[in-house]
Symmetry: C2
Subunit: 243 residues, 2 copies
């Protein structure tokens, strides 16, 4: 019986098991779930603690925003030793732009887990970024700076922070690659298919072919991102040939 | 001989031993001095590393500012559970105001350790705060977030972050105390004297007497601060009598 229960529990239904949901989002085990519950509580629930303090994700955004800024600052400081104060400030504001944070929150589908008394359709456009910031605040409270930093590296810096792209030197690897193919009179083709597998979030895989040969593969949470990732890989693989 | 050397080394002359100077400022042992050297290098020296990147404290201010903001955010988040996002943001900007950071840098006399090619009198008014931020950046690079947080607690939060005072509920404990003495027709007297002792920084001690009885003592890096500290202590000690 317990074997069957384990099998049944190993893939819980969406929202059925908050711990497992968080584990998938975070990439590590949460300890104190109460922080995360707060990070997913909308003010419309009007929840209060014993002292009458409001319980919702709005205060946690403040904390998450501060931690995100600090981690991104330290990354940029180390990654761009030639960048002065003004440059680093500008680069950081690109990484933590409202638009970018909204994309990150959307990719993780954080909105699916919000507890609310109003219909989710009524949330403003920034709900995704706000939840993303609140989640970072919860991670800090639960596991401290180290895990907070790990999460930001895994979910923001590694997949998205490309210094050249931020500097505007490279707008899109896909367009760079297409340009090159056209100049070199090569055929190219992006084969995109859904490939969610065991992930909670929908994923897409891409095979990039040049002259019918697969030159790069990639997988991401949107078609656009998967294509860009594959293009970047192909671009670097082809660098020696391109120059 | 080694005993004599140890005695001689135990109180190095000002600036004579960078490690000891730092140890006194930080309250813990620095590991990699190169970060701190950078934090005390003015751009007028025109120093560059092998790759031609400028070596001076300006980039480090960016890092220190981010760490300071994060630590203050997490402190306020925990200390004021009833404060919403807007309140927390406002309180933080008071703590990390340019004026406040300049005071902190001045108290630690950071300017004494700057390496520069221009006379220090030509530095702008914000040099003290800038050096303070750069020092925090150096601590982060040298000892990580934990020590950075410790330094900010020891040097900023514990001595200066008084929520009631920040909220403007209490402007000055000294004025509160004087008001009370006048109302109650009590004589009061602040006896201030220099009391630097073994500290590198100049210190002042205060004895606060009410009706010729010492009700509080305090010690700080300026007369004003020592008086305020003693007043606060006396105020809380007298609370039961005042109400």
């Amino acid at each position: 019986m317990s074997v069957i229960r384990n099998i049944l529990n190993s893939r819980p239904s969406k929202g059925g098991n908050f711990f497992n949901t968080l584990y998938k989002i975070l990439g590590f085990k949460p300890k104190n779930l109460s922080h995360y519950k707060k990070a997913f509580t909308h003010r419309s629930l009007n929840k209060k603690d014993e002292e009458g303090n409001a319980i919702n994700f709005e205060r946690m955004e403040f904390l998450g925003d501060a931690m995100l800024s600090a981690v991104i600052a330290s990354h940029l400081f180390k990654a761009v030793p030639g960048g002065n104060e003004g440059y680093l400030t500008k680069m950081r504001s690109k990484v933590v732009s409202r638009k970018h944070l909204n994309e990150l929150g959307k990719d993780l589908n954080l909105i699916a887990h919000v507890q609310t008394n109003i219909p989710k359709e009524q949330f403003g456009v920034n709900i995704h970024g706000n939840l993303f910031e609140a989640l970072i605040g919860a991670i800090y409270l639960d596991r401290g700076y180290k895990y907070c930093r790990k999460f930001i590296f895994d979910r923001v810096i590694d997949p998205y922070v490309d210094i050249e792209q931020l500097e505007g030197k490279v707008i899109s690897y896909k367009s760079l690659l297409i340009e090159w193919c056209q100049k070199e009179k090569k055929e190219f083709n992006y084969e995109v298919y859904e490939d969610t597998g065991n992930d909670e979030l929908k994923h897409f895989a891409v095979k990039l072919r040049i002259d019918d040969r697969v030159v790069a593969k990639a997988r991401a949470t949107s078609k656009k991102k998967a294509e860009e990732k594959a293009s970047k890989r192909a671009y670097y693989a082809l660098q020696s040939k391109i120059e």
